[in-house]
């Protein structure tokens, strides 16, 4: 208990996710010798990369207090538009741009109804889910279109052997370490005000953990050159971009504020409608892009492409600690939950557990992820006062106060 009080970050959901991730990886390694193998590690991403793309924007949508159920249908629609245009004989470049335009149109429609007409997003995107899938059916009917040019499918299928991505990832790793140092030390103070350089709160345990994390990351990425497909690298870059947008830009802060308290944000003069519109357009565009990646990976498109992906995507986001009511959640948590889900799935499929059972394990994890913290709170309330968290914080404050008076 005291440890938890001393290091508040230990109580964060992200920490627990990291522990779960470590456990999942450990169990996977001990259960299957095929798991810790570069090709399998690359496969973990390769087989669900489209969902991973959409997860990034879905996190923004849910943090903003809305939901987008139509993403899977938009993915299917963009893939179908691509296939339809390609089948008609258009060049692949123009087919791709038409597919993205279709995504843009879906996003504008969703955003318009939600932001400007104030219809609940659950209703709008549920209608969208049916309608966009229907549009895909109109285009492709019951045909299956394939035979895309080599360069298109190779983007999703071929391993990248160039060493530039590796360098890129070492760089990214360094940036990550830099960010962590910046977060946990008084580097800025030291540079700007000439204060003595020292570490902030997390203390030695936190630093060791972070270093291990960073080391593992860099090691895996360095190891990976030549095993990952280009789409995985694209995902990594997009992940960092969306993390940057959410944590370090005004727009990202607006997303949180609106998700927390929409009325308050409106009174504060934020352009709530524009922000919501932008988010829905982003969501649909990303889904359209993911649909193209799906087409490139699978190489063969029917009108039911990507059907049912929305539930998986939302599950990953919610497991990442994003509240369904909006306003809370971090990109780090979403990234970790993505890794947890993908690793669990991969481990279970190596053990020949079927798809539905895998999904139900993830579903149970989703429920427990909200249930257990709630239980912990309830239990804490029934514990004797001396053990409860409130008292401890009070004690700490008293102690600090005492110490400050003593030094004075």
């Amino acid at each position: 208990m005291k440890l938890l009080e001393r290091y508040p970050w230990l109580r964060r959901w992200e920490t627990l996710l990291f522990v779960i991730l470590c456990a999942a990886v450990f169990i996977n390694i001990s259960l299957s010798e095929h798991y810790f193998n570069i090709d399998n590690l690359a496969n973990i991403f390769h087989l669900s990369i489209e969902k991973a793309f959409v997860v990034l924007v879905m996190a923004l949508v849910i943090i903003n207090g809305e939901i987008d159920l139509s993403v899977a249908s938009v993915m299917g629609l963009s893939a179908s538009v691509l296939a339809y245009e390609f089948e008609k004989g258009a060049s692949l470049e123009s087919a791709i741009s038409y597919a993205m335009l279709a995504g843009l149109a879906c996003g504008l429609a969703n955003g318009f109804f939600v932001a400007y007409l104030n219809i609940p997003s659950l209703v709008v995107t549920l209608a969208g889910l049916i309608a966009y899938r229907g549009a895909a059916r109109i285009l492709l009917e019951d045909r299956s279109v394939g035979n895309f040019p080599e360069w298109f499918t190779s983007f999703a299928l071929d391993d990248v052997y160039v060493s530039i991505p590796t360098l890129l990832f070492v760089l990214v790793g360094l940036i990550l370490i830099g960010t962590l140092v910046y977060q946990f030390t008084n580097l800025r103070q030291a540079v700007e005000e000439g204060a003595a350089f020292r570490f902030r709160k997390p203390g030695p345990v936190g630093l060791v953990l972070i270093t291990v994390l960073a080391a593992v990351l860099v090691y895996m990425l360095a190891l990976s050159s030549g095993a990952f497909e280009a789409t995985t690298y694209v995902f990594a870059v997009l992940y960092l971009i969306s993390l940057g947008i959410l944590q370090f830009t005004n727009f990202g802060r607006y997303i949180y504020v609106i998700g927390n308290n929409r009325a308050g944000a409106e009174y504060a003069g934020l352009r709530v409608k524009q922000v919501k519109m932008t988010i829905f357009v982003m969501s649909a565009l990303m889904a359209a892009f993911a649909g193209l990646m799906y087409a490139a990976r699978v190489g063969n498109i029917r009108a039911n492409a990507a059907e049912g992906f929305e539930l998986d995507i939302i599950t990953i986001v919610l497991l990442g600690g994003v509240s369904i009511f909006g306003g809370t959640g971090t990109m780090v948590g979403v990234g970790l939950s993505l890794l947890v889900v993908l690793n669990l799935r991969n481990g279970m499929s190596l053990r020949n557990i079927n798809d539905n059972t895998r999904a139900s394990v993830i579903g149970a994890l989703l429920i427990l992820s909200v249930l257990i913290p709630n239980w912990a709170q309830t239990i804490q309330r029934f514990l004797p006062r001396t053990l409860s968290g409130d008292n401890l914080t009070l004690d700490l404050e008293n102690k600090e106060a005492r110490e400050s008076t003593e030094t004075a």
């Binding site: 049916i130 309608a131 229907g134 019951d142 139900s360 429920i367």
Partner: protein, 346 residues
Amino acid sequence: MRRVRYFIRVQQLREISLLLILAAVIYFFGREIEDYYTARMYNRIATQVALIAVIAVGQTLVVLTRNIDLSVGSIVGFTAFYLGDQLSKNPNIDLETAVAIAVGVGATMGLVNGLIVAYGRVPSIVVTLGTLAIYRGLLVEYSGSQSIQFRQLPDWIKTLPSEVLYENFGLDLRPLPAIAIGVMLVFQVVLLYTIFGRRLYAIGSSPEAAELAGIPSRRMIMLAFVISGALSGLGGFMYLARIGTITTDAARGLELQVVAAVVVGGVNIFGGSGTVFGAFIGVILISTIELSLIRMQINEFWKDALLGAFIMVAVLIDTFIMGWLRALWSRTELRRASSVQKVQSI
């Protein structure tokens, strides 16, 4: 106009407008399709309506309390399979026992949802998204990826959907639609006239106020989920009777259809308003459009696009015209109330 206002409440306007839309839709298809007004078409629509309507009634109760139950499709699939398995193993199970088994299994699954939502304080969308996957996984584990074949079932359930209870003008009342209408009527009365029903509305309108007024919200919400589960179980029985061949994919995606029907039926997705009757008309509307479009055969691939567009239009009409009408209504109510006050003060 004023007299009309005495007889019709604001909520009923919505149902009347839905009925008008339904009439318009049927008239439209009747002109477009030859031999549209036949007993065969009617029976087809009625059977489809029956299955979705029973589940939509349960969903309405849950949505009224500001929750949502996305696990209904999986519950229907599981109960249909479980019941089919039991029936093929011991064919001497009779109708009552079969229904009791289905409802019991469904209610148990609903109870799990309800307990976690009400007493675990987990948002219902999270819980039911999870149980959607869990119950489907249970089905797959239980079935061992086998499926129930039509010929394994006892005879009485094979003939049940096509039995005729009552016939008039060539239109039959068959058991499945009869069950659906019965369930709809019972829960309409429950919602309008029982303490439980009114409490559901109170909880959905304002959870805090309901709590302060001493309503046992948790128990009520749990009960709503149990009923939703039980009715989904009944839906599972009907699914088995109607389709007969049950695979592990049975009723997948049904939850979205049900939620769409409930929303079209004018039940507010944020709780507190809407009726079972409205949801029932929503189901009829959606099923009619869906099956008529298939019948039209201009292009069956247009079905989903038109359906999605229709749902959007219905919601738009509801938001704007109903909002405007309601404002008009309440303004005149206010005026009347204030004039009454004046008279009293004099």
